[in-house]
């Protein structure tokens, strides 16, 4: 009698075949990835890849296209939030990270990174209130903190009308918008609330905080979109986002008691107070609540972080060449987008004292 075809035998044959295929693929993959990701650069420049804060994204994106137009090389920058940028550069998945929240000297040495400021910009509160136009509403740190605490809930609250005599504020409920992701913009904003309204703001200053009220938007663009869609809302974004989307910004009272509008001049006034030399080597500096009658109180620098020990000299060189170009030739583009460029006195310091720590096998990548 002929034995009926056994389905178990079929299964066994198939499983053995599958195992062989899997092993073959595994060996091929391991062999292929044995050599690390980067190869030594050829005569064509590598593309440097970066990710991080959405705060400077409009500026880096403009610089990137201008730099590519010169033909010297290309960079690629993705806005994923400061927290994402710090993790990505620490894990080595990108060549440089962008963060508005600088790391402390200890965190820098634990992660093996260096950081330096690449530009300075302003964080502005934006509102969506019927009848209120750009630059009309006046707020101060105390009121702003109370709004973000949920203590002031309607736009015609006595505290707000006291600062805005003659302005017709509706009784709409305030919808608070903040960031849902880990953000350097949040770090700058909460640092300001903590510095200027310490009695009111208790939620701390960090890239993410436990927000007492409000909804979250993803990225500066998410907050801008949410504020535009929700009537009666307030949010905080980097100034370029507010300007590009023609949003309604507010005047803030600075440390000297003067109400100022956000602009390149008021940001520059804050930036000029920064003691970058004294902050070396970590360059950790908080620029909020600076003195000066023309100073915008919610100003911050955006930092670039890079690994000290680079694996690929070509990519590191490409990144540093881009930043060198941006320091020397990027000032006009920066100012056109209302970012304050880093002055020559500071960037020569950066190139001399900070970039020397970026090395490949002990030799500094950046040759002056």
């Amino acid at each position: 009698m002929k034995k009926p075809a056994s389905s178990w035998r079929l299964l066994l044959v198939a499983a053995v075949a599958l195992a062989l295929i899997a092993m073959a693929l595994g060996v091929a993959a391991c062999g292929g990835s044995g050599s690390s990701g980067g190869s030594t650069s050829s005569s064509m420049a590598d593309t440097a890849v970066g990710a991080g804060a959405t705060f400077p994204y409009p500026l880096y994106s403009k610089w990137g296209s201008d730099y590519a137009a010169t033909g010297a090389g290309k960079i690629n920058y993705q806005g994923i939030g400061s927290g994402g940028g710090i993790s990505a550069v620490t894990n080595g998945t990108v060549d440089f990270g962008g963060s508005d929240a600088p790391l402390s000297a200890d965190d820098l040495s634990t992660a093996g990174l260096v950081q330096w400021p690449q530009c300075v910009g302003g964080v502005v509160p934006v509102v969506n209130i019927s009848g209120i136009t750009d630059g009309q509403l006046k707020l101060n740190a105390d009121v702003l903190a109370k709004i973000y605490n949920g203590q002031i809930t309607t736009w015609n609250d006595a505290a707000i009308t006291a600062l805005n005599p003659g302005v017709n504020l509706p009784s709409t409920k305030i919808s608070v918008v903040h960031r849902s992701d880990s953000s350097g913009t949040t770090w700058i904003f909460t640092n300001y609330l903590q510095a200027a309204a310490p009695g009111v703001w208790k939620a701390g200053a960090d890239k993410t905080v436990s927000w007492p009220v409000g909804v979250g938007g993803k990225g500066n663009d998410g907050v801008a979109a949410s504020v535009k869609q929700l009537s009666g809302s307030i949010g905080y974004v980097e100034y370029a986002y507010a300007k590009q989307s023609s949003m309604v910004t507010v005047q803030m009272q600075n440390k000297d008691g003067v109400y100022v509008k956000p602009s390149l001049e008021t940001f520059a006034s804050a930036a000029s107070q920064a003691d970058w030399k004294g902050s070396l080597p970590s360059m950790y500096l908080v620029l909020v609540n600076q003195p000066g009658k023309d100073t915008w109180p919610i100003t911050g620098a955006s930092f670039i972080l890079m690994q000290k020990n680079q694996g690929d000299a070509g990519r590191a060189q490409a990144a540093l060449a881009f930043f060198d170009w941006a320091f020397k030739n990027g000032a006009t583009s920066a100012q056109s987008l209302d970012y304050v460029p880093i002055p020559k006195s500071v960037y020569s310091l950066i190139q001399k004292d900070v970039w020397k720590d970026i090395t490949v096998s002990g030799t500094p990548v950046w040759q002056q």
Partner: protein
């Protein structure tokens, strides 16, 4: 073959007939195809088990480190060392329930309409339109939700709703985290309903079409109204297919990520007390916070969230199978 061996070989079966018919030709086609097909099936099974294994292994630091507290703590705040999935779980449940409550009756009525009540041409055109709705990428739903549904709810619907007596009903009365009602669980539920509607409608329509004409005619012949035929014959006949369709829609609603991330408000530290409160879902929480998960525990906790979602979906699939089997037994085994 000689008569003797044919006799000894036993009764002829289909394989023997095929062997006889293809004598002289290469007969490897069938076995090779069977092996390849079995390999493909194994790949799927192995991937499924492999995925579950990877999820469990990678989330192990969080399962041991955070433990059962993850399911009972409300707030998700890794920077404060708090890993609570309860807000996300409640948000997922609420938005899915809202979506199914809106989508299922609508889908059934549309399917019945298309199959029974309208001219076949109209039925084909509307049916195609609904199938095209299924092909729209989910991020488009998110964008339309953010630019159209959100401002409309915030400016028009919610203020009106809060002025009516319905505004005092618990579940609609705004809770402590109320933010205007535009970015809320309700908005997410509405947009999810429109994403889920085409799947349920399409499958229900196909299943309803398969109800035998004879049975329906018997009903009409005995004097039933259209509604009685629809309810007692068509729907009962198509019951298990419709239940299957609903579970497909449920699976999509549970796992929808980017569309929900735009419009649900991303509030991770407070439970939504009403439909008008903002919240978060498991999928959108992972999408928003994954890129900056720094420490091993952060990453493991997020993967554990993914594992929880995976297990919830699996549980619903198992429930669906049990229910379908029970329905098959009572209605006489119609698959």
């Amino acid at each position: 073959m000689s008569t003797q061996t044919e006799y000894l070989a036993g009764p002829a079966g289909p394989r023997d007939a095929a062997k006889a018919a293809t004598r002289g030709r290469l007969r490897l086609g069938d076995p090779i195809f069977r092996v390849i097909a079995t390999i493909c099936g194994l790949i799927v099974a192995v991937s499924m088990f492999g995925l579950t294994a990877v999820l469990i292994v990678d989330s192990w630091p969080a399962i041991t480190g955070v433990g059962a507290k993850m399911l009972t703590t409300v707030a998700w705040e890794p920077s404060q060392g708090q890993y609570g999935a309860l807000a996300a779980l409640v948000g997922t449940a609420l938005s899915t329930i809202v979506a199914m409550v809106i989508a299922v009756p609508l889908a059934l009525v549309i399917a019945l309409l298309l199959v029974e009540l309208v001219h076949p041409t109209v039925g084909r055109v509307v049916g195609t339109a609904i199938e095209m709705l299924a092909a729209i990428p989910s991020i488009i739903f998110g964008m339309v939700g953010l630019f159209v549904v959100v401002p409309w709810l915030q400016a028009t619907v919610v203020p009106w709703l809060l002025n009516t007596p319905l505004g005092k009903v618990p579940g609609i009365k705004p809770g402590p985290s109320f933010a205007g009602g535009g970015l809320s669980v309700l908005t997410a539920g509405i947009v999810l309903a429109f994403m889920v509607l085409p799947f349920i409608t399409a499958v229900s329509r196909d299943v309803l079409r398969m109800v035998p004409q004879v049975t329906k005619e018997a009903g009409y012949g005995m004097g039933s109204t259209t509604w009685e035929v629809l309810r007692k014959i068509s729907l009962r006949y198509a019951n298990s297919g419709i239940v299957g369709a609903i579970f497909i829609g449920l699976g999509r609603a549970l796992g929808e990520t980017m569309a929900v991330a735009f419009i649900i408000g991303s509030v991770y530290n407070v439970l939504p007390h009403s439909l008008l409160d903002p919240g978060t879902t498991i999928a959108s929480l992972i999408a928003n916070t994954f890129s900056e998960a720094t420490s091993k525990l952060d990453v493991a906790a997020l993967i554990e969230l993914g594992l929880i979602l995976f297990l919830i979906t699996l549980a619903f699939q198992v429930l669906a199978q049990i229910w379908l089997r029970r329905v098959q037994r009572t209605t006489g085994g119609r698959a």
